[in-house]
Symmetry: C2
Subunit: 216 residues, 2 copies
């Protein structure tokens, strides 16, 4: 029996499909073909079918996909049928921002503990969430069986924090620190370098502004 390798990009697209399907469901659509989905949301129909086929047979030949069952399947695959507890590390500007941001909680990801090393912050509660010392990460995360961590600390301390999270049993991390972190293969680290994203934008502007090479 071969373990079929599912491309990372396929998983990323799954949440795009889910969003599209949610939208269609909201409009009361009963079923959709991969072609319709692709045309409407700017996707490729073959890719939609191939991506879905990694996980099972969700469609009906000659008809397409029933919306509601497909949504349920996507939620099941993505592990969204349950709520996840999340540990946030770093209560600086970005960390505070992420707590205030409701987007995560709405999607079933609940920040249930925050870690910071500033004694002035430790022991307080932010939005009802307890702030604990960074030194207690391993034990607290382990005790609460938390599997998802968010890193919102400066780059310099990020690796040590990641190590602690991993030691405590965390297996998926959203990292906002601009640093090349290392973790065991079993741990999934998603990097989000906001400044780097802006830098690629500035590259594109610089390219777009200067080159006025020749008017044919």
């Amino acid at each position: 029996m071969r373990a079929i390798k599912i491309p990372e990009k396929t998983v990323t697209r799954l949440s795009i499909y889910l969003r599209c399907v949610e939208e269609l469901e909201g409009e009361g659509t009963a079923s959709v073909s991969s072609k319709q989905l692709a045309d409407r949301f700017g996707l490729n129909s073959a890719q939609v079918r191939k991506d879905l086929a990694y996980f099972g047979q969700f469609g009906i030949r000659g008809l397409g996909y029933y919306i509601t069952p497909l949504r349920h399947s996507l939620e099941e695959i993505l592990g969204l049928k349950r709520a996840w507890e999340v540990a946030l590390v770093g209560l600086g500007n970005l960390g505070s921002a992420l707590i205030a941001y409701r987007g995560f909680q709405e999607k079933g990801f609940k920040i249930s503990v925050v870690f910071d090393r500033d004694p002035g912050k430790v022991g307080r509660r932010i939005d009802g969430i307890p702030v604990m010392d960074t030194g207690t990460i391993v034990s607290v995360v382990r005790k609460r069986k938390i599997k998802i961590g968010i890193l919102a600390v400066p780059a310099a301390g990020a690796q040590a924090v990641l190590d602690a999270l991993v030691k405590g049993g965390v297996i998926a991390v959203l990292n906002f620190a601009p640093a090349q972190l290392t973790a065991p293969d079993s741990v999934k680290v998603q990097n989000v370098d906001l400044s780097a994203l802006l830098k690629t934008l500035s590259y594109h502007i610089a390219r777009a502004e200067q080159p006025k090479p020749r008017t044919p």
Copy 2:
């Protein structure tokens, strides 16, 4: 003369290289080979050389790359030799968070105007930044010659805001709204769907927890 297509991923990696080079420079290193760089930061040396070679010849055979000149070249390529003004649209939780977050300003991206449609917010100043009505995007952005926009509005209104930004002359957009937006090819849109990122993480946890197939 052929226009060499530079892969998007190469541009993304450029800012990673810049970060590495900055770190080495901080340590007082004078030069580095692609191999050293790759070993230390978990990159591939051939890829480093190939990526850089898209933009010119920055190395010296037998020696490697001189750190400081390479940093300057990377900054020049990425358009970081100047400060950029940025227009932020949406002063909700995420928008406020992005203003409080110092990361952008530090890297030369200055949020110089914020747009919101809430009359209760318009006219005020946040952190010294004027809050203006969303209806004025086109004229304000055009007048100030702003080229970069950040979208922190709900998905429903995102396309209209993007259209306004583009009409005003913006050519690069960082989009936090979970929506499939369309823009002219000349406009670069970078999507950052934070919830989608968490969803791929929850997928990985779901995979990691269940499958305990057989112990050989």
